[in-house]
Amino acid sequence: MTKEVNSSGKNRVVITGLGVLSPNAHGLTEYEQALRSGTSGIRFFETLAELKFGCQIGGAPQGVEELKHQYLPEEDLLAMNQAMTYAAIAGMDCWRDAGLREISPESDVDWDTGAIIGAGIGGLDTVGEKLIPKVDAKRVRRLGSTLVEQVMASAVSAKLGGILGLGGQVYSNSSACTTGTEAIINAYFHIKEGRAKRVMAGGAEGSSHYIWAGFDGMRVLNTKSNDAPELGSRPMSASANGFIPGSGAGLLMLESLESALERGVRIYAEIGGANVNCGGHRGGGSMTAPNPEGVIRCIHAALKEGNIQAQDIDAINGHLTATFADPKEIENWGNALGRKNDDFPLVNSTKSLIGHGLGAAGGLECTAAILQLYKGFIHGSLNCEDLHPEIESIKNSVVHKTQDFDGQYIAKSSFGFGDVNGCIIFRKWQN
């Protein structure tokens, strides 16, 4: 057996490219720096205040109006909403980072590469700004040609497939806040089974008030930090009382180890094991809360899938949004791994820096997890100096300040409405 396949004879899958457009950074260098230094991407939004949102702060990538013209011609931009633009910028960065051919409309189709890129909510900016006003004003005939491609569920992957000239399977998944992580897991299994050499995967979400409004209406956003945006996102904190909405795009190039070695490219990490499941809205689970048994089964299945022991997990990049679910998440991880108190792995929440990117969250946070594994650090979680009393027992595992890290495995979990769970275990790449 060659080293390119695992003990079951399936392809091993590695990460060979990353692209990130986050509320606190664009590009890997900036993102690493922002993670290391604890730079918050949470800002006050005048529009949210004018519209009388309870939560008037959020996370949105900065400078995109200028940036997008460096990446895309006007003809493309005429038919691209926020999520599509974010996905395109991060996707083109990811493609180049993976050392693939030049991006050009004249290039050949790359039949060996696909894309699985999802959004949690999708093109509500287009729906709110164009579709509803025109339809209600009886001006359907003036909608133009660009609406469908921006509101269709596959908008973010479809556009990028064309920009890059992808010839493998290109589709969008959607599973609420698990979307980005699920996309990466689907891509992993796709390559593992030998259906493609490469799949770009992750998630994207726009920054529109139309996307965020429903969460504000649900009273799940933090309304108490409008005058101090950087203190607003407080995962694991005793004073957490809701998440801060975020946005952006985080994309990974997954590749078979065989293809990566053949191309001689840099490998950031290997996917050790992964699983997605659903708690079935039973056993305490519901549309909006996870069934603990589902979470534990998901983590167990990811470990088993990769033949990894619970004791091997060195760190967890949690879902940890800053709602009532944080203590439950920590408890579920403790039960799943059979590791409590000081034996609990290191844990942090990237959302403390960038808010909750919804469909983009998994992609943005997996990118953070991989950068940490590859560069050897664990970033500090902001705003949890006052740890929630139910998390107090693992206080020595909560990373407050960025520290060096020499571990082999970082687990990334995401959970979403629908009682859906996703868990990926990234393994440090060693040649």
């Binding site: 011609p73 006007e74 003809e75 005429l78 409309p105 003036r142 133009g144 040609s145 660009t146």
Partner: protein, 82 residues
């Protein structure tokens, strides 16, 4: 508005939709909108909407379908403007 002014405006309105930006340098009334300028055929709808907004006219679907070249567009608009 004379025909030359209409022509200039038509070119300006079509410009963002042209994938072949090089072809804009040698644009003329004979330029085929889809083939020479490489405008995505779906975008013809948006271009006609731009004509309607800018020239304050209404273009019937059948008339819009008959627009092949820049000259066709100019002729149709001038006719509408009287």
């Amino acid at each position: 508005m004379n025909e030359s002014e209409v022509y200039d405006k038509v070119v300006e309105l079509i410009k963002p939709y042209a994938k072949n930006q090089d072809a804009l340098a040698s644009i003329s009334t004979e330029s085929n909108i889809l083939e020479d300028l490489e405008v995505n055929s779906a975008r013809l709808v948006d271009i006609v909407l731009a004509f309607e907004d800018d020239f304050d006219i209404e273009v019937e679907d059948d008339d819009a379908d008959a627009i092949i070249t820049i000259g066709d567009a100019v002729k149709l608009i001038c006719k509408q403007l009287g």
